[in-house]
């Protein structure tokens, strides 16, 4: 079979570019190797793009002039010759390559090969057109897109990712060299051999972060010698042209060759900050560069990694010093704790993985997990995992306040994951290294998610402060081993009567509609809201219209349906039995009511117990493109009869009152329907 060696798969994962697989000539059927080469290329473009998006997403906002939007899935345009594999109707259509793992929680009903027909009603004929439309979508958070799968054509609203800078990540199979380089200003190309040379995702993240830094800093590659310059001149001008026309070649050399040591050092410095901010272990950059320095011959110039990115002793020394300043190499326990504080507030969205150097997060490399690697789509720690479908994690993070009552280890797998009723073991070790709790839990055959809680003793809050470890096993296999931190700083508002006084602060005097009564404790020790009817406090409904809230209420749990766009409250009511363990407040927004810049924790909820005291108060965030939000409170069984009566929940968005409602916990089973 004759094989053409050319760039053929035009791929764009967030943006596109080159392809990796060689193609057979026209009319030659694709071999299995061809198909596997295509899959290899597409899968690794998705992998790179996911890492790249996380890195770019952590960069500082570049302002409106750099506003750019992207899709939460990889997309690309394939050469028509691949129609045997992905039968696109157009010869230059744009297809969905895959969902990005970090955005799997969106549950978009898309799969590889789906064709993108329209974006906001505009027909899509090429990737360039789609990119242009995305670039002009700064003012919207959602786009209505039309897709085709076989005969089926459907419209779907797709959340748009906000990216500080546009970068495109591509795997190339054109060289046996393990290398990476910046092509143009924002296309980062990684050779497939480098994927084998790197030791884990953190090292790969360093490679990408380093190239991103070169681009951000405007670094130019320099020619290393006159000989190279002349070679570049000759090639640039065209040797044949020179020979034929007998014209001395005198065009200026094009920019090729290596970066200067100064630029390399600067790019390393920026890269480790980007990595830290996006949840990768920056010290892996140091180990990677050392291994390149040791393993790849320094005389191997040209397109090798060292050929493009020279690794001097000074560079290694400075990188090591910079890592020490960040507190990630040979650090004290103090700096270990401080390391994650540099992380962005988008932690709730990006699935965060730290390596052992940062001392928080999973210490298992993905390759070290013997449990069906690739089928685990999500794993981590959170304050809550809600709903039967458990699509929404509350407070997914690695640092928790010591006021938190429960911390969940959770896992999500693809459909064909573990078998039904698989048994897991979770061991929780306290800061002293002692086994604090050990639980068995099961993977329900009906669910793709499982979780196990750590229940903390809040009467010993101070002793809970420190670095904890959770180890989850299935049989002899370790599924996860993660470190997290419980910090001792005071909550925004403590659970005390003092807070109840605070609830009548100037803030609410300013913003609460006059018709809404304030919370106050009367002489009998009961709150005066005991006389307010159940449901929304009169007058607060006006806020729903202002904030474009479609539906709001309290419920036991919330699941999502219709591909995750609609919240489905479970046990929504104004009356709950005394046996209830958890009650949640939720709000569903109308189209256009999504909240921008929502990574910041700009929402606050206050739960008032029947005695009028503030039982629980906390901040919570609404994801950038969320269509609903949800927060909950765990009721302490020790409350006993004190829990019976009318409760009040009040939610704020900064200074704006969002909702204020009264519900009841009752021992009367007929009333509660229990």
């Amino acid at each position: 079979m004759r094989i053409r060696n050319e760039l053929t798969v035009f791929f764009m994962s967030g943006l596109l570019l080159t392809g990796c697989a060689s193609l057979p000539t026209n009319a030659v059927p694709l071999s299995d190797v061809d198909r596997e080469a295509l899959d290899f290329s597409l899968n690794n473009n998705v992998r790179l793009t996911n890492i790249g998006y996380r890195l770019v997403g952590s960069l500082p906002d570049q302002g409106q002039s750099h506003c750019t939007r992207n899709l939460p899935f990889a997309y690309g345009g394939l050469d028509p010759k691949w129609e045997a594999v992905y039968p696109l109707s157009r010869r230059h259509g744009v297809m969905v390559v895959d969902l990005l793992p970090d955005f799997s929680f969106l549950n978009l009903d898309l799969k590889r090969g789906d064709e993108i027909l329209r974006f906001q009603g505009v027909p899509i004929n090429s990737i360039a057109m789609l990119v242009t439309l995305l670039d002009n979508s700064c003012d919207v958070d959602w786009a209505t897109m039309q897709f085709r799968r076989g005969e089926k054509i459907w419209d779907m609203r797709v959340p748009l990712i906000s990216m500080p800078l546009p970068f495109f990540f591509v795997v190339t199979g054109k060289s046996a060299e393990a290398t990476a380089e910046l092509s143009g200003k924002n296309v980062i190309m990684v050779s497939s051999p480098l994927l084998h040379f790197v030791n884990g995702e953190d090292e790969l993240a360093f490679v990408l972060a380093h190239e991103i830094a070169h681009s951000m800093m405007g670094h130019q590659r320099q020619l290393v010698s006159d000989e190279d310059a002349n070679m570049a001149n000759a090639v640039a001008s065209g040797i044949a042209a020179g020979l034929l026309h007998k014209t001395p070649l005198s065009v200026p050399a094009f920019k090729a060759g290596v970066y200067s040591e100064k630029d390399e050092i600067a790019a390393d410095g920026q890269a480790i900050h980007t990595m830290l901010a996006s949840g990768y272990g920056p010290s892996s950059g140091f180990s990677f560069l050392k291994r390149v320095k040791i393993g790849i011959p320094s005389k191997a110039r040209g397109s090798s990694y060292q050929g493009i990115h020279p690794i001097s002793i000074d560079r290694l020394v400075i990188l090591k010093k910079n890592l020490g300043n960040l507190g990630v190499v040979g650090t004290s326990s103090k700096s270990m704790i401080e390391a994650p504080s540099a992380a962005p507030s988008s932690a709730s969205l990006w699935q965060r993985k730290f390596n052992a150097d940062t001392m928080l997060g999973s210490v298992l490399n993905s390759g070290a997990n013997p449990e069906k690697e690739g089928e685990i789509t999500e794993m981590g720690l959170a304050e809550g995992v809600e709903g039967p479908q458990e699509d929404f994690k509350k407070g997914d993070k690695l640092v928790f306040p010591n006021t938190v009552e429960r911390i969940f280890w959770h896992i999500r797998i693809q459909q064909k994951g573990f078998g039904s009723m698989e048994k897991f073991n979770a061991e929780w070790y306290d800061p002293s290294g002692n086994l604090y709790s050990k639980r068995e839990f099961f993977f329900n055959f009906a669910s793709t998610r499982a979780q196990s809680p750590l229940v903390l003793n809040l009467t010993q809050k101070e002793s809970n402060v420190g670095r904890w470890r959770v180890r989850v096993t299935r049989g002899a296999n370790v599924i996860d081993e993660s470190y997290f931190f419980i910090k001792g700083e005071a909550p925004t508002k403590s659970v005390s009567s003092k807070s109840a006084v605070k609830s009548t602060s100037s803030r609410e005097l300013k913003k609460i509609p006059e018709s809404v009564p304030a919370v106050a404790v009367n002489q009998s020790g009961k709150s005066d809201f005991q006389n307010i009817p159940l449901g929304p406090v009169p007058g607060v409904e006006d806020n729903y219209r202002i904030l474009k809230i479609k539906r709001v209420g309290v419920a036991r749990s919330v699941e999502t349906k219709d591909r995750g766009y609609q919240p489905n409250p479970i046990g929504m009511s104004d009356v709950f039995p005394v046996s209830v363990q958890r009650i949640g407040w939720f709000a569903e927004f109308t189209y256009g009511g999504q909240l921008k810049n929502a990574f910041s924790k700009n929402f606050e909820v206050e739960w008032f117990s029947p005695d009028g005291k503030l039982y629980r108060s906390e901040s919570f965030s609404v994801e950038n493109h969320a269509w609903y939000t949800w927060t909950s409170v765990w009721l302490d069984p020790a409350l006993g009869s004190l829990a019976i009566g009318k409760w009040r929940v009040r939610v704020w968005k900064k200074e704006q009152l969002v909702d204020d409602r009264v519900f009841e916990i009752t021992s009367d089973s007929s009333k509660s329907g229990a």
Partner: protein
């Protein structure tokens, strides 16, 4: 004051200090890195290089020496190395006739059987004297490169050497397809005799073909072209081998 300056010793000290400062006697580089820091880093690298090299060499030698047991006597002297001047996923016979495997190749192979396939392939080239047979190509290539280089130098002053090297590489093509397939066939025999899984040969070359499609074309980029034809021949050979009870006593 003038009297002090007239002292030879003082003048010597002052001038030496200035000279030392200007001539690089300083202990801090322009990057603010001290000599001590550099020395420490070099020591750290040397220590790690020793461990890294020994680990790689041990792995390659263990597999390679197992293969050597069953190769013809004239090839039993062959040594294995992991340190050469070529980078990338590669393995080759160096000027001493020894087999060099790059660290990138060691990362690429998934197990010892795949490594054995790579080593056995190179051993087969040496046993079959392929490097010697391609010397002619190299000489012609070198000569052609020099001619083109000198011509280029005339029209693109300074570019001659580089163009000569490039042209030389183009003309001195790697092993022919026939040589590669012959080496494959022999390598399977070496592997089977040494007790390695012969399917690993197909796995590793097939993956090479999938992940670096550029190597599927005979070009100067492909020192080991892994064409579909070659993979098909490997598949056929392996199937045939598995159908035989012993290579020494074929049916």
């Amino acid at each position: 004051m003038t009297g002090i300056w007239q002292s030879k010793f003082v003048r010597l000290v002052v001038v030496s200090s200035i000279f030392c400062f200007l001539s690089g006697c300083e202990t801090v580089s322009s990057n603010n890195v001290t000599q001590e820091e550099k020395k420490a880093m070099i020591s750290e690298l040397n220590a790690e290089r020793t461990v890294y090299s020994q680990k790689n060499l041990k792995r390659v030698s263990t597999v390679g020496n197992r293969l050597l047991i069953n190769v013809p006597d004239e090839a039993k002297h062959i040594k294995f190395s992991t340190e050469g001047k070529i980078s990338g996923i590669n393995a080759y016979a160096d000027l001493n006739g020894d087999v060099v495997v790059t660290p990138e190749m060691l990362c690429f192979v998934r197990d010892d059987s795949e490594l054995a396939a790579v080593l056995a392939h190179e051993l087969a080239h040496i046993v079959k004297r392929h490097p010697l047979q391609t010397i002619g190509n190299r000489v012609v290539g070198k000569a052609a490169g020099m001619m083109i280089g000198s011509l280029a130098e005339k029209y693109a002053p300074g570019a001659g050497n580089s163009i000569a090297a490039y042209s030389s590489a183009v003309v001195s093509s790697p092993y022919s397809k026939e040589m590669e397939m012959a080496a494959d066939a022999a390598s399977l025999v070496y592997m089977q005799r040494a007790g390695f899984d012969v399917d690993a040969a197909l796995r590793v070359w097939r993956r090479f073909s999938i992940e670096i499609p550029a190597t599927r074309q005979n070009s100067i980029m492909a020192t080991h072209p892994s064409s579909d034809e070659r993979l098909a021949a490997l598949t056929s050979l392996i199937a045939k081998m598995k159908g035989e009870t012993s290579l020494e006593n074929p049916k």
